[in-house]
Symmetry: C2
């Protein structure tokens, strides 16, 4: 049976996940990309090199993150968080966010791993979605 | 190394996949849901009960489907197809689309499986995205 998740169940799916699908709007077109992320309080943190999703969210900050927790075809939960894009500009906040992301995702790409070695900082963008509301469904 | 996929490589990722993430725009908000799908020629076919994604795409037909083909953290391909939502109304076309989807996804939900038993038709909606263009990236 499919049922609606409570907000706290939906947050639980979001907190347990590591890979989500970010949705944004690029000049009236939906755009979806898989991202690694982490949840802290009411925000979802991630990082990216400059590119289409960053340009899209700078222009149109509404975004969402869909996360699935799948056991099998008949036992799964899916949650979605809706929020607003915020770029993390403050240097201390940015370092803190990137450090937490590195801890959670040690296998970062070479470019991103440079950060950990204090090399010339690459143009990695740290950002958060400030979550406005969540929803979710489950089949159990 | 990350590289851009050719159109034919992106189509290959789309054709091999079964689960994708559909992105659409619901009153200016991006919305993302996982769906099962199949590709036939330049269209992506799927089905759904009435709900938010169907209402959103009826109002705003731009949609996309993101599909990943992941071996491990350093060997993956991701493709995205951008297109327009079309509801399949014609009865013969609808039956044909639902039959192909049933063949590809025998474990449909009970409601949807009713179709195969010629019971009272449930309000399952068959739809296609007519693909306008594709893109993709790979790490290999």
């Amino acid at each position: 049976m499919t049922r609606i998740l409570s907000d706290s169940e939906a947050w639980d799916v979001l907190r347990r996940g590591k890979l989500g699908h970010l949705g944004c709007v690029d000049r009236d077109q939906p755009y979806v990309v898989p991202i690694n992320y982490l949840v802290d309080e009411d925000c979802i943190y991630s990082h990216s090199l400059p590119g289409r999703k960053i340009s899209a969210m700078r222009a149109h900050p509404h975004a969402c993150l869909q996360v699935s927790n799948i056991q099998d075809d008949f036992h799964w939960r899916s949650a979605i968080a809706f929020g607003s894009y915020e770029e993390i500009i403050d240097q201390a906040d940015r370092n803190s966010a990137l450090r937490q992301l590195l801890e959670r995702f040690p296998k970062l790409t070479p470019v991103e791993s440079e950060l950990a070695r204090d090399a010339e900082p690459p143009p990695v963008i740290a950002f958060r979605l400030r979550v406005d509301h969540v929803s979710g469904v489950a089949e159990e």
